[in-house]
């Protein structure tokens, strides 16, 4: 391989980027905007106020429970309504939107062993339109029920081994991997397609350049930008810069400050390998496209399945059996597993899962590079 020719290709990519402000923005601003929005929404969004109805169908026997619950819930900042008499009325109120959640206290099927209370049946009814809000409210209700009806059963509390159970903090590493892979894939796919359509590839192939030099040149060129991108995203996600109030401007915290349990450097290497896979996948798939629009048509084929199957939302082990082997073929699966290991669990290079993720990712990157260089000379009819 000739270094001068390879670097000439990388340099050219850098020179083209320098003039292409939109692509620069897509590469560097877009991921930060995406992460910032998600961070904001996932952390701070939640039910702002909750109107809860406590429906006591037990009469005076249920009063101690409903009163205990009411005081616990009011203490938690909810507006408690006690004037709804039965379940049907509560359901209607939920439909009308006057309440957000109803707790119905009713008699259970059999009599309780306890003398003081009948066998209590507690039903929580939510509208079911926004599962995230519902989950938050049910969580709060369970907490209140545990304290107010404590005598009915043991207190249940939840703790986590890794992180603090914050959804966003556990979700972020996966998201970083996904956003980087997606953006790098789109950019390389389109820029290599232009090379094919614009006749410059034809011209490249009429010089003594090797196909591998083109592929490596592209990987280095886009890899460099991916490197800067990953560094920026990592800084933004893991760090916080506090800027005090200046004049009329309020104080702001820049950066999400997601706690990182492990080495950011290792996470950086994993993301970079993922980006190099994306570069070569882009080159490879550009063979099968004739227009930029056709590159975008690969998104539902190549990107969306990786988003669904690679463990961003659901762990790969929990997928239906048929889908698991497919997930294990995807570079994103290893990237996301590696990022979670490192950032959430705090694993280092000595942990075999991290070693495996790194090896497989490097392998996939090499395989895709080989495929990309094999398809470059495909004859255009």
């Amino acid at each position: 391989m000739n270094t001068r020719r390879t670097l000439a290709i990388s340099r050219r990519i850098a020179e083209m980027f320098r003039r292409d402000h939109r692509s620069l923005a897509l590469m560097f601003l877009a991921p930060i905007v995406i992460m910032a929005l998600l961070g904001w929404v996932l952390r701070d969004a939640g039910p702002t106020s909750t109107n809860v109805a406590i429906v006591n169908e037990l009469g005076s026997i249920g009063t101690p429970v409903s009163e205990g619950l009411a005081s616990a819930l009011s203490g938690g900042g909810m507006n408690v309504k006690l004037d709804i008499a039965d379940e049907a009325a509560a359901r209607q109120a939920l439909r009308d939107g006057t309440i957000d959640v109803a707790v119905v206290l009713a008699t259970g099927g059999s009599t309780s062993a306890s003398a003081s209370l009948p066998n209590l049946d507690i039903t929580i009814i939510t509208p079911g339109l926004s599962p995230a809000d519902d989950a938050d409210r049910i969580g709060a209700l369970r907490q209140a029920l545990a304290t107010s009806v404590g005598q009915l059963g043991p207190t249940i509390s939840q703790e986590t081994i890794y992180g603090n159970g914050n959804f966003f903090d556990a979700f972020t590493p996966a998201l970083v991997g996904f956003v980087v892979f997606f953006l790098v894939f789109i950019l390389t796919g389109i820029s290599f397609l232009r090379e094919r359509v614009g006749g410059t590839l034809e011209r490249l192939l009429a010089t003594p350049v090797r196909r591998l030099e083109i592929v490596v040149g592209y990987s280095v060129g886009f890899g460099f930008f991916a490197l800067v991108q990953v560094a920026l995203v990592m800084l933004f996600v893991l760090g916080t810069i506090h800027i005090g109030a200046i004049g009329p401007l309020p104080e702001v915290n820049f950066g999400l400050g997601v706690p990182s349990a492990g080495s950011p450097w290792l996470a950086f290497v994993i993301t970079l390998l993922l980006a190099i896979s994306a570069v070569n996948l882009g080159i490879f798939l550009s063979t099968f496209a004739r227009t930029e629009f056709q590159i975008l048509q690969f998104i539902p084929l190549v990107i969306v399945p990786q988003g669904v199957l690679s463990g961003i939302f659901w762990p790969v082990d929990a997928l239906p059996g048929v889908l698991q082997p497919i997930a294990w073929l995807m570079p994103m699966t290893y990237g996301i597993d590696g990022l979670r290991e490192v950032l959430v669990k705090g694993s280092g290079l000595d942990v075999w899962q991290v070693q495996l993720d790194l090896l497989v990712l490097a392998g996939i990157a090499l395989l895709l590079a080989a495929l990309a260089s094999l398809t470059i000379r495909r004859e255009v009819v």
Partner: protein, 245 residues
């Protein structure tokens, strides 16, 4: 017309054939082209000129037969360092400046001498446009830059695919002046065109129709042979259509 290939031939082909499915783009062609001459590859659109050039360079794999450039059987990666190819589309990077394009193709072709690049830029009269992005150039300037990029490594053999398409008459005359100068330095030029009035500027014409070599000879020989007074007429007489299909 058909002798065995020797090192003296700049370009030679034996039984060169290229099929795309049922279409025969190059049909069993034999060629021997001598160095230091300008060959005009003439034929209507779709007659197989570009495919013939691609087969001669080795960019397209021939279905049958072989081609040699400077005695080396193509495709040969290293030998491409002695070949220049100006594609029909400009084949330059719109986002890059004139100089960046030139330097890029020079690096790939192994030309490291900046003075040569300056000289070529002077030749195509783009010295004052060095830093201009290609997007801001006129069509004629882009053609000139495209030609310059094919010349960076001072190739011995040049394939120019429709170099004067979209070029105004004044620039066309300039181009042919460059071509003549390059030939006088001992380089071999194969210039494809469907503009028949450029034919008289070539040393020798290769009339191509449906991938077949209809006739070969100097412009005057062809006119004499067919008893016509322009190449278009000669084409029709020889059985080729003067128009695109």
């Amino acid at each position: 017309m058909s002798t065995s290939p020797t090192v003296e031939d700049a370009i030679s082909a034996r039984g060169l054939t290229k099929r795309f499915g049922s279409i025969v783009a190059v049909n069993d062609l034999d060629l021997d082209l001598a160095p230091g001459r300008i060959y005009g590859l003439l034929g209507p659109n779709g007659s197989g000129k570009t495919t013939l050039i691609r087969c001669l360079i080795g960019l397209a794999r021939p279905t049958a037969g072989e081609s040699r450039v400077l005695g080396v059987r193509m495709p040969d990666r290293v030998n491409l360092g002695r070949v220049g190819y100006m594609t029909q589309s400009d084949g330059i990077y719109n986002e890059l400046s004139v100089w960046e394009n030139l330097r890029f193709f020079a690096a790939l072709a192994g030309q490291l001498d900046r003075a040569v690049l300056d000289e070529i830029l002077e030749l195509v009269q783009l010295s004052d446009r060095r830093g201009t992005p290609v997007l801001e150039l006129s069509g004629g300037m882009r053609r000139r830059l495209s030609l310059a990029c094919a010349l960076v490594h001072r190739p011995s053999v040049l394939f120019l695919d429709e170099p004067t398409v979209g070029v105004d008459p004044e620039l066309r005359v300039e181009f042919w002046t460059y071509f003549r100068r390059l030939a006088s330095e001992g380089r071999t030029l194969v210039v494809s065109s469907h503009v028949m009035d450029e034919a008289h500027r070539c040393d020798e014409l290769l009339l191509i129709f449906h991938g077949k070599l209809l006739a070969r000879g100097s412009p005057s020989e062809i006119l004499h042979q067919t008893g016509t007074d322009d190449i278009e007429q000669a084409f029709l007489k020889l059985g080729g259509s003067g128009r695109g299909e």
